[in-house]
């Protein structure tokens, strides 16, 4: 028991050191602009098809499932408002984060871990490159930039999916749909969505890089790192979602 507690404390200390190093190296030159752009492409651009499809399905299905409840009250005209609030306030950041945890988290965890196992990280270090800045910081910055962009994308596609679901039953122009959508969401909602996405992006990058960078040696370590990256990212995202919702409720 005592030993487990000690190990837990040591893990927290290592996490703290890792976080401090990320923050320190992120603001100190030289900056790895080229690698950050490459990672934005790998992490963000290549996720657009999957995120887009998921967003469309979420918007379409959510609208379809919500219709019967509103029909009972003769309030189907409220569907655009309901969809906009649900997608912008809750679904878009959370669904983006969960999809990214699976796709991007496992990719980062496995990649860094296999580089660790095959001594590629050591090779980088002995050839005069700071591997922490090049591999870890660039990936965390890329996820922090790209997850919010993906989140806006999923929100847009999700709303469009909702619109297509609505026009299956009702007559509604795209313009009046989006007019109703933006009537119900304000600056605070957009700000809250962006804040969530930034926090989730940082978390996914940080958790995945941490488990990949410190993975155990051997091929088993690569599998474990990929798995742990997804679990750690998703778990932390849910905890953060809970905290952010509480804080935003208090503020509003």
């Amino acid at each position: 028991m005592g030993r487990k507690f000690n190990n837990l404390l040591l893990e927290f200390a290592r996490l703290h050191r890792f976080l401090m190093r990320v923050l320190r190296e992120a603001v100190s030159p030289p900056y790895e602009f080229k690698e950050i752009v490459r990672q934005c492409y790998e992490i963000g651009w290549k996720s657009f098809p999957l995120i887009g499809l998921t967003g469309f399905i979420v918007g379409f299905v959510f609208t379809k499932q919500s219709r019967p409840s509103l029909e009972d009250f003769g309030a189907t005209s409220w569907l655009p408002a309901l969809i906009s609030i649900a997608i912008v306030r809750a679904l878009a950041p959370l669904v983006t984060a969960l999809i990214a945890s699976g796709k991007v988290g496992s990719q980062i965890g496995a990649e860094l871990s296999s580089m660790n196992v095959t001594e590629q990280i050591d090779a980088m270090e002995v050839s005069g490159t700071n591997p922490f800045k090049f591999l870890v910081v660039s990936r965390i910055i890329a996820t922090t930039i790209m997850i919010p962009i993906l989140c806006f994308y999923i929100a847009g596609i999700g709303l469009f999916g909702g619109y297509l679901s609505i026009i299956g039953n009702d007559q509604l122009s795209l313009l009046s749909f989006f007019t109703q959508v933006f009537d119900k969401i304000g600056f605070v909602d957009i700000f809250a969505m962006t804040l969530r996405a930034v926090v989730f992006g940082f978390t996914i990058g940080f958790a995945s890089c941490y488990v990949g960078y410190y993975s155990s040696k051997g091929t088993e370590g690569v599998g474990k790192a990929a798995n742990s990256a997804v679990v750690a990212s998703m778990f932390t995202v849910f905890i953060e979602e809970l905290l952010i919702v509480q804080v935003l409720s208090l503020i509003s």
């Binding site: 095959t118 001594e119 090779a123 050839s127 700071n130």
Partner: protein
């Protein structure tokens, strides 16, 4: 390629490991070891697997820190250097990894360019291309320029790994098990390449191995790591002129069995 007589300056010590110890938990890997590498010399470090040979060169390159003792490389105490100074020193040390450690997401060309592009930012595209082709030609693999590491054999990967370290023209080469896992013919090629590198680039090298044919072919001097200490050193013949039961099986396995 056979070893030719190289000029070794025994007045000029390029690496000095002074009373260094290193442990991992309860495992004492190195115990108060002393070692000197002289300018122009190929020094072979022999020893069983798990005796700390690779740990020694990781300590020298600053990848690990010693628990006690000092390591001086090219006149600089590694323990006292800042991260930035250590980075600069590492540019003068080539490290050839046991498994080559090629970046598997990059082509051979990109692997070789990587240290150049990041450390010599004033080079033009044409100069980079010329350097890459020159060093790749030196290891006899110019045709592999646009291949991925996964398409190369073990011996080719070793050669590319050595070429990647040579591209920065290091003063010191550290080879970690250069012939491990290779067939005898490829081993001979790699040994020849190590001698060629010493002659052509005027490097001083530490070669970690337990392959005695490699040791005999490339080494100017040898040391043997036994129970965390360098207990035997000298020429190949001097090392194995003993009845020590920790040493004899090495020779017997390689040349008699």
């Amino acid at each position: 390629m056979a070893k030719v007589g190289n000029v070794i300056n025994y007045e000029d010590c390029v690496i000095h490991v002074d009373n260094v110890s290193k442990s991992f938990g309860d495992l004492h890997v190195l115990r108060n070891v002393d070692l000197k590498l002289y300018n122009g010399e190929n020094l072979v470090v022999l020893g069983r697997s798990g005796t700390g040979k690779s740990v020694l060169i990781k300590l020298i390159s600053g990848l690990l820190k010693p628990d006690t003792g000092d390591i001086t490389v090219l006149g600089q105490r590694v323990n006292d250097l800042t991260e930035k100074e250590l980075m600069q020193l590492r540019l003068r040390i080539g490290f050839s990894f046991q498994n080559s450690a090629l970046y598997d997401s990059m082509t051979v060309r990109e692997n070789l360019e990587f240290p150049l592009v990041r450390n010599k930012r004033n080079l033009t595209r044409a100069e980079i291309d010329r350097e890459v082709e020159d060093v790749l030609d030196g290891v006899g693999l110019l045709q592999a320029l646009n291949q991925m590491p996964s398409e190369l054999s073990g011996g080719q990967k070793k050669r590319i790994g050595i070429a990647r370290t040579l591209i920065l023209r290091p003063d010191i080469m550290l080879y970690d098990e250069p012939t491990a896992g290779l067939d005898p013919i490829t081993c001979l090629d790699i040994n020849g390449l190590i001698n060629e590198v010493q002659e052509r680039y005027k490097t001083s090298s530490i070669i970690i191995t337990h392959d005695l044919a490699c040791a005999k072919m490339v080494g100017d001097r040898m040391v043997m790591l036994l129970d965390g200490k360098f207990e035997r050193q000298g020429t190949f013949e001097e090392i194995f002129d003993t009845d020590d039961t920790r040493v004899k099986p090495f020779y017997d396995y390689n040349f008699i069995v």
